[in-house]
Amino acid sequence: MVVPLGEAVRQLIHDGDTVALEGFTHLIPVAAGHEIIRQGLRDLTLVRMTPDIVYDQLIGAGCARKLVFSWGGNPGVGSLHRFRDAVTDAWPAPLEIEEHSHAGMANRYVAGASGLPFAVLRGYSGTDLVENNPNIKTVTCPFTGQELAAVPALNPDVTVIHAQRADTAGNVQLWGITGIQKEAALAADRVLATVEEVVDVLDPVPGQVILPSRVVDAVSVVPGGAAPSYAHGYYERDNAAYKDWDAIGRDREAFTAWLRELTSAAPGRTAPTPAVPPAPGSPDAGDPEPAGRGA
């Protein structure tokens, strides 16, 4: 149950899989994402509500064939430039996209976790998302006649999460902002959890989510495995690293240098030092960024 990260990724994730590395700003499984890059996995359908810099890295490294998502950005900073480059210029490979709203994605995971083929929500009505996504349809309430949005269940082949702790039996415990991880894990065929530490007994913590070991396929101990995001109670979010990513992600050469450093680093290394210094000033000043939404 508790295996090294490299082995867990090799066992559970294969070329062509649909993979969700979930985390809502908090507890993002960054180290697992880097291991996927190192192992050179290809043709993945990457799924996540809020693909951020580790998804930018996976996309830039050419691991992804498709991205299913609702908000792809660098939270609090701006756009993801590797994502942009893949969508607009097919670099390093074309990237198919399927996009939803947050509520749509969240309910897709809920349906997936519930063994239902679809979910119902109030949403999408009147938006251009509908005509650009065949996975948004409508359903009529059999009691009121109201028309509502329907989205299909999302059942990844593999869901990867990072958590604070597991016990030796493989029960996984996370707390703080727990986001969509429970549903993403329960919706998946296979689950990989990286954790800060393994303990004998999971002392209860307010706000905790427990994933019982019977729904977890592998636990890998990776202290700091969520950095530069954070692990509530363990370490803080490294906001500077998110800001620094902008300059690296913006430039193919800078990114390539960063990638070279990552893939040449020893497995288990969690995050390379930025290969280029951040650009001076506010790099996004000239961009038509939405001012009002974060991740």
């Binding site: 609702s70 709203s101 509520a103 809920v110 949403g123 906001n239 998110y242 960024e289 939405p290 009002g292």
Partner: protein, 251 residues
């Protein structure tokens, strides 16, 4: 000519903060909306109830978070719920009074684009996408938009409707089954726009100190109507400015 002693972000932030009433439940995004909500809660709206889409209900951070999921939000919240719960039990159920949205583009009916500039299948600029904005626009009792004024942003027709404002005009929200009132105000660095009560077309109802109406019309990509009751935004008070600056580190 007025001597401007504040920045355009500061006047936007202060004006947005004033739009929030005490006791409201407010869905807060990152950036100016978060600053504005935190200014409001530190001035005239101490009982403002801030919800971030990460599931933190009733957060009261002592500094501005960089992301909607910073630890300080969980630490200070009345409770933290899952993402499905915040969207289904809180937003969709109509429990949120006010939602803040930003936009890359907005049109004369306050429809919002945060998805692409250009064609969807061959975009000129790929933007982050929808996030929670479509549901915020649909289900909050009212929506307040904050964005910088420019012809590139204030367009006759958005390239992509990510979030519905007033559709193509009167009756569209009802026809689409959207339960909230939609955008009731757009706050920019130049002034304030509100939908006309009859036509739902965004109309200039206020200009900030030192701003001429002609400058606002010049920065708008359609023939902007101006309200007969145009007001000038009261200048930020010293208190407002000092709160804004203490939050943004510009003190």
């Amino acid at each position: 000519m007025t001597t401007v002693t504040w920045t355009s972000d500061e006047i936007m932030t202060v004006t947005a903060a004033r739009s929030l009433r005490d006791g409201m439940a407010c869905f807060v995004g990152i950036g100016l909306p978060s600053t504005a909500a935190n200014v409001a809660s530190r001035t005239h709206a101490p009982d403002l109830w801030m919800i971030y889409e990460s599931g933190t209900l009733g957060a009261s951070p002592d500094h501005l978070p960089l992301s909607i999921g910073d630890g300080i939000l969980a630490d200070t919240a009345d409770t933290v719920v899952s993402v499905p719960e915040v969207f289904n039990y809180w937003l969709q159920a109509g429990r949120i009074d006010a939602g803040f949205l930003g936009a890359a583009q907005i049109d004369r009916y306050a429809n919002i684009n945060t998805t692409v500039i250009g064609d969807y299948d061959d975009p000129r600029v790929r933007l982050p996408g929808a996030g929670g904005a479509p549901e915020i626009a649909a289900s909050c009792r009212e929506v307040i938009v904050i964005m910088r004024h420019s012809r590139r942003a204030f367009v006759d027709k958005v390239d992509f409707v990510t979030s519905v404002g007033h559709g193509a005009g009167p009756g569209d929200r009802e026809r689409l089954g959207l339960t909230g009132a939609g955008p009731v105000r757009v706050i920019t660095d130049l002034g304030v726009l509100e939908p006309d009560p009859i036509t739902r077309e965004l109309t200039l109802v206020g200009v900030h100190p030192g701003v001429e109406v002609s400058a606002v019309r010049e920065a708008t990509g359609w023939d902007l109507r101006v309200s007969d009751d145009l007001v000038r935004t009261p200048a930020p008070t010293d208190t407002e400015l000092s709160v804004v600056r203490s939050l943004t580190g510009a003190a």
